[in-house]
């Protein structure tokens, strides 16, 4: 089974400085598959600076990897012909964090829907284009008569974000990369956007890569989850066991930090080092989480932990699980599907 998109041993280093070169490793030898097979929602979770947005941009073809390959239907993205590139552009759609930045204030919101219709020649007439736009808007739960013909400032952030979801739907893609689609929207409007994303998945069979730092929404919308820490995957598996019973100390910290909407369920007292050493931990060799990890062992600082399979479809990169069988990178890749 080939995946629609695949990262194979991808490393991305951002360099800066003209004379004195220095680099930030955003992704460190990561392999992951997205799309293909049964349409699923994969959540990609991690803190700021974990490389989750870089991963999204690589999959969208907006960035090229420093080393490794991004494969689209088994073919290197960089080697696509212009025709293949067009299909790729249609198959893989993006939804970004800031709905206000997507719209040109001088155009009506219709523009965002019209451009792809023209570009991919989806309609033969104006009337047909209009019908397509209306269908897409209804598909995400918006009323076309209240949306079309308006300017961006006349709609709320939640409505604007749903129009971008409608735009993605218009093209009937096979994969949508949604980078923090609800983090700038009010909590009360988040539900509607998540609902329309899930509808896209269930009714239209579109796979979704949901990039977020918010584990509660990841849990609710995701089928499987990949946890990133400083450019490396640390835990991967089905969303239920990972969130309810996290195994990697970093995932445990993330789950313990969720602010539950319940005054009787306060943040538990966890080990302070993990919480407070944020931004300071920079380990050159070994596990990247070692400096913050409450369960650190000498071996963690010596070499990078490989993935251990702790359940049939779950892997953790942590020496605490060294009794479980090791699992090769190619197999880990498949777990996200």
């Amino acid at each position: 089974m080939t995946a629609l998109l695949e990262l194979r041993n991808v490393t991305k280093v951002y360099t800066r400085g003209t004379f004195v070169r220095s680099g930030t490793v955003a992704l460190d030898d990561v392999s992951l598959s997205a799309g293909g097979g049964t349409p699923a929602i994969t959540a990609l979770a991690g803190e700021s600076g974990s490389g989750k947005t870089t991963m999204g941009l690589l999959l969208l073809g907006f960035l090229t990897p420093t080393s490794g390959q991004v494969l689209y239907d088994g073919q290197d993205l960089r080697k696509l012909s212009s025709q293949e590139w067009d299909t790729f552009r249609r198959d893989v759609q993006a939804i970004f964090q800031d709905p206000f930045a997507v719209y040109n204030p001088f155009y009506k919101v219709d523009h965002v829907l019209e451009v792809p219709i023209h570009k991919f020649r989806l309609a033969k007439s104006h009337a047909e284009a209009r019908t397509l736009m209306e269908q897409a808007l209804v598909g995400v739960g918006l009323r076309p008569e209240e949306t079309l013909g308006r300017y961006a400032h006349q709609l709320s952030g939640g409505q604007l974000q749903r129009v971008t979801v409608a735009r993605a739907l218009l093209l009937k893609p096979r994969l949508i990369v949604a980078d923090e689609p609800v983090s700038m929207v009010d909590a009360s409007l988040r539900a509607t956007i998540l609902e329309s994303l899930r509808k896209l998945n269930r009714e239209f069979g579109i796979s979704i890569l949901y990039i977020t730092h918010d584990l509660t929404t990841a849990y609710h919308i995701g089928d499987s989850i990949v946890v990133l820490y400083q450019g490396s995957m640390v835990e991967i598996g089905h969303v239920d066991p990972v969130i309810k019973n996290p195994q990697h100390p970093y995932t445990q910290l993330l789950v313990a930090s969720i602010p539950w909407p319940d005054p009787d369920r306060k943040w538990q007292r966890t080990d302070k080092t993990a919480l407070w050493r944020e931004g300071l931990a920079k380990t050159a060799v070994g596990c990247k989480f070692a400096d913050r990890c409450p369960k650190v062992m000498p071996m963690c600082r010596e070499s990078t932990p490989p993935f251990y399979r702790i359940e049939p479809r779950r892997a953790v990169a942590c020496y605490l699980h060294r009794d479980s069988p090791m699992i090769a990178a190619e197999e880990v890749t498949q777990l996200a599907l």
């Binding site: 709320s156 909590a187 539900a191 609710h220 919308i221 602010p259």
Partner: protein, 322 residues
């Protein structure tokens, strides 16, 4: 003096526009006890940031405080001269503004930025005192001494935000107003910043007003919660009571819109949109979105009434019960 540090009475803050005033804060009253942690929750555009700014009289023209009083230790801030107000800010009441961490000066060391605020609001401190206070304050927010000589780009998001908290508490105010202090931060850093503020609140004995839209954060941090909708308060009460038994339909929807771990895949939004503050609906401001609206709701404005010990709600359904 009845033990309240801050008493806000019928505060009105309007922004005049060509089509009439935008009533961002329209008759809000509340009290804040010493050492109390009060939450103010509402959707974007409900006037909560305007309220935060007006507590320090930082509303920029053309916006202005149209009426009401803000008493800080019994002194009406709305009547103070600009000069006196300047001495109140940071000394007695301070603000952690929204997106504060992006407001740090990129070409200035952290130490100088903290000293800047202290110098501007308190001329009586000597350089030695200022410097000692910088290190003391950094320690309070859990940052190491060497952070003082760093530039903002050398710090992570959480550290920058803690520098902003340090600036806000540098003169040990009695009241700290935190306007969405963690809105751009991820969960781990959010928790770290909130725990910093909580610790300070205990150590310095300050009262905190936390403004935001995240009910989860409110449940974790505050003791009392006030719910704001379209420029008015619709409900107030102890955090446990509000969560256990929300009285106003808006509060009920707000609480049920937060996803829980126990019911996977259930999304509940609040239907409709926040009203434009230029054309506020007649009667109860929430009636166009309210699932339980009755005829009276479209006509009469429900007053904010006390339905239990320090439990307030503005809803016709609870007026009847009383």
């Amino acid at each position: 003096m009845n033990g309240y540090v801050v008493q806000v009475e019928n505060l009105k803050v309007y922004y005049p526009t060509s089509s009439g005033p935008v009533k961002a804060v329209d008759g809000v009253s509340f009290n804040l006890g010493a050492r109390e942690k009060l939450g103010l929750v509402g959707e974007s555009g409900c006037g909560k940031s305007t309220l935060a700014l007006s507590l320090l009289r930082l509303i920029k023209p053309p916006g202005r405080i149209e009426g009401g009083r803000i008493l800080l230790n019994g002194v009406d801030l709305t009547q103070l001269s600009w000069d006196k107000m300047r001495r109140v800010r940071l000394n007695q009441i301070s603000l952690i503004p929204q997106g504060a961490m992006n407001s740090l000066n990129p070409v200035m060391r952290v130490r100088n930025q903290i000293m800047d605020g202290m110098r501007a609001h308190n001329q009586s401190m000597s350089r030695q005192e200022l410097e000692a206070r910088v290190y003391e304050t950094l320690e309070l927010v859990g940052l190491e001494r060497n952070v003082a000589t760093m530039y903002p780009h050398e710090l992570s998001g959480g550290m920058k935000q803690r520098v902003c908290v340090a600036i806000a508490i540098s003169l040990r105010p009695q009241v700290v107003v935190a306007d969405e202090p963690t809105s751009a931060l991820d969960v781990v850093v959010q928790r770290q910043v909130m725990e910093t503020i909580g610790q300070l609140q205990e150590e310095l004995g300050a009262a905190v007003i936390l403004i935001g839209h995240d009910m989860g954060l409110m449940a974790q941090f505050v003791e009392r919660l006030a719910v704001m909708y379209a420029g008015r308060l619709v409900e107030a009460g102890g955090i446990r009571e509000v969560f256990r038994q929300p009285l106003h339909p808006y509060t009920q929807l707000l609480i049920s819109s937060v996803p829980l771990l126990d019911e996977k895949g259930v999304f509940r939004g609040i239907p409709g949109l926040t009203p434009s503050l230029l054309h506020v609906p007649s009667g109860c401001i929430f009636h166009p979105r309210c699932p339980q609206a009755q005829d009276t709701c479209t006509e009469e404005v429900p007053p904010l009434v006390e339905v239990g010990p320090s439990r307030w709600v503005a809803c016709h359904r609870h007026e009847v019960e009383r």
